[in-house]
């Protein structure tokens, strides 16, 4: 087999593999019923944030916290929670 043919076969195989991965993972997508229940939860409980990091209040409730919250705990306080570095500035 010519090297270019082998390279083409390799690319097509990888592309097909990627397609299969996309199909496989799409089965894990949230169903419309899940989304509807989430809507009921958010509206019914008045939720404002995703529950990702629960270690600090300013990463648990990103949208209703102060942008300077990490430095408000005591004078000269430095942010030390790892999750604080995951969230970007919002303003």
């Amino acid at each position: 087999m010519r090297p270019s043919s082998f390279f083409l076969v390799l690319l097509v195989t990888l592309a097909l593999g990627d397609g299969a991965l996309l199909l496989l993972s799409s089965s894990q997508m949230r169903s419309p019923q899940d989304q509807q229940e989430e809507g009921v939860l958010v509206a019914g409980l008045g939720l404002t944030d995703l529950c990702l990091a629960t270690e600090a209040r300013y990463t648990r409730n990103v949208s209703i916290t102060d942008p300077i919250a990490p430095f408000m705990d005591y004078p000269g306080a430095l942010e030390h929670f790892p999750s604080g570095s995951f969230y970007g500035v919002t303003q």
């Binding site: 990091a53 629960t54 209703i64």
Partner: protein, 392 residues
């Protein structure tokens, strides 16, 4: 076959064979290149998926949230503020919430305890089993799956927490939220507002915040402005602001995002520097021989282009595929220590990344295009010199 196309295919064959002759070096380059792309694409897929989930899940977030600010910090808000808000035309309902965090000293988990004044009966559909707390019985709670794991009740329905002044309060579990909603409810312990007041010692004249529902959603911003004017010592957060926050909060501007980007770029610059700093004498001699055999400068450049394209495109495919697998099937395991930090209660993510053309284009622009450029330039310089001097 078209002779032009056949010629290009022959050049591609030559380029691929040339790559294979130096397979150890080229496979190392491919591996490092794929790892750089894996890091960048993983982060891009993760933040994209989180942004999508936030936009979908929080589309019905409170229209307006009013918090009292004292000396730059959020404090309890007087219920009487709610009565003042009723003066504003267009407000349909003002609902107080009492909520806060409870740190469990035994497990180290931080639980969000949320007390609401009334329960929408439709919330029953979000429960895995059980029922919502009834207003009549004290201490009834519904738990998120993260709290269930953290408390490890082993079938018991009753448990106790210490109040801030170290008296005990006993809770009865009446239901659990479904695992599918963990991204919203993992650390939640939902109860009646009376229980929440009792646990946090917040008097009936105060609440943690006020949720405002407006008659016409198109007027959210106008009413929010009126609230801020009427109650200048409050912070007013609107639903569009919440969605805007989640649109901006996950991205390359975060500390971790910047580290990923800079690490990727540093690795790539070292890789590119090695290529751009010149060609080996052996490679120069090869070009000289090719030119002696009648190859044109454009043919030599085409060989180098195909070589670089093969390496960078394969690295792109491999890196993006690994990045997708990392997020979709391993829940972004490499990023979890930073994303969750020292959190004891964490949700199961189950994210499905959405592959956007823009995301892939960003990765291509940062990696593939510069790599193609830095490999072509030295080849052009070597191919421009006369063959005899190139071979010397």
């Amino acid at each position: 076959m078209n002779t032009g196309l056949e010629k290009q295919r022959n050049i591609l064959d030559y380029g691929l064979m040339s790559l294979w002759r130096r397979k150890t070096k080229n496979l190392s380059v491919l591996l490092v290149f794929a790892l750089v792309i894996f890091l960048m694409s993983s982060f891009q897929f993760l933040t994209g998926a989180l942004t999508d989930v936030a936009q979908q899940s929080l589309r019905l977030a409170p229209e307006i949230t009013v918090q009292k600010m004292v000396a730059g910090r959020q404090e309890q808000i007087p219920i009487s503020y709610g009565d003042k808000l009723q003066e504003i035309f267009g407000i349909r309902r003002v609902e107080p919430r009492v909520w806060g965090y409870h740190f469990s000293t035994t497990t180290g988990g931080n639980i969000t305890m949320l007390g609401v004044s009334s329960f929408d009966p439709r919330l029953e559909t979000a429960l895995l089993h059980g029922r919502l707390p009834s207003g009549s019985s004290a201490g009834e709670v519904v738990l998120g799956q993260g709290v269930v794991r953290d408390l490890d009740l082993k079938g018991r329905r009753k448990f106790s927490f210490f109040r801030p002044e170290l008296t005990q309060k006993t809770f009865t579990v009446t239901g659990e939220f479904k695992p599918e909603s963990e991204l919203l409810t993992a650390d939640l312990m939902v109860m009646s507002i009376a229980d929440s007041r009792d646990f946090f010692h917040i008097s009936e004249t105060y609440a943690t915040d006020l949720l405002v529902t407006v008659a016409n959603p198109a007027e959210i911003e106008t009413i929010a402005r009126k609230i801020a004017e009427l109650l200048p010592d409050t912070r007013v957060v609107t639903r569009p602001q919440i969605l805007k926050t989640y649109n901006a909060v996950f991205g390359w501007r975060s500390g971790f995002g910047s580290v990923c980007l800079l690490t990727g770029l540093a690795a790539f610059i070292i890789l590119a520097w090695d290529k751009a700093s010149g060609m080996t004498p052996e490679e120069k001699r090869e070009i000289g021989i090719l030119k002696l055999l009648g190859w044109q400068t454009s043919d030599v450049l085409a060989v180098r282009f195909y070589e670089s394209f093969a390496v960078s495109f394969l690295a792109l495919l491999l890196g993006c595929t690994l990045g997708y697998v990392h997020i979709a099937f391993f829940d972004g395991a490499l990023f979890r220590p930073v994303m969750f930090g020292w959190s004891v209660i964490t949700p199961h993510l189950h994210l499905v990344p959405v592959v956007r053309f823009g995301d892939v284009l960003l990765v291509i622009c940062f990696t593939v295009l510069p790599y193609l450029a830095v490999t072509i330039i030295p080849a052009w310089r070597a191919a421009s010199v006369p063959p005899d001097s190139a071979m010397r």
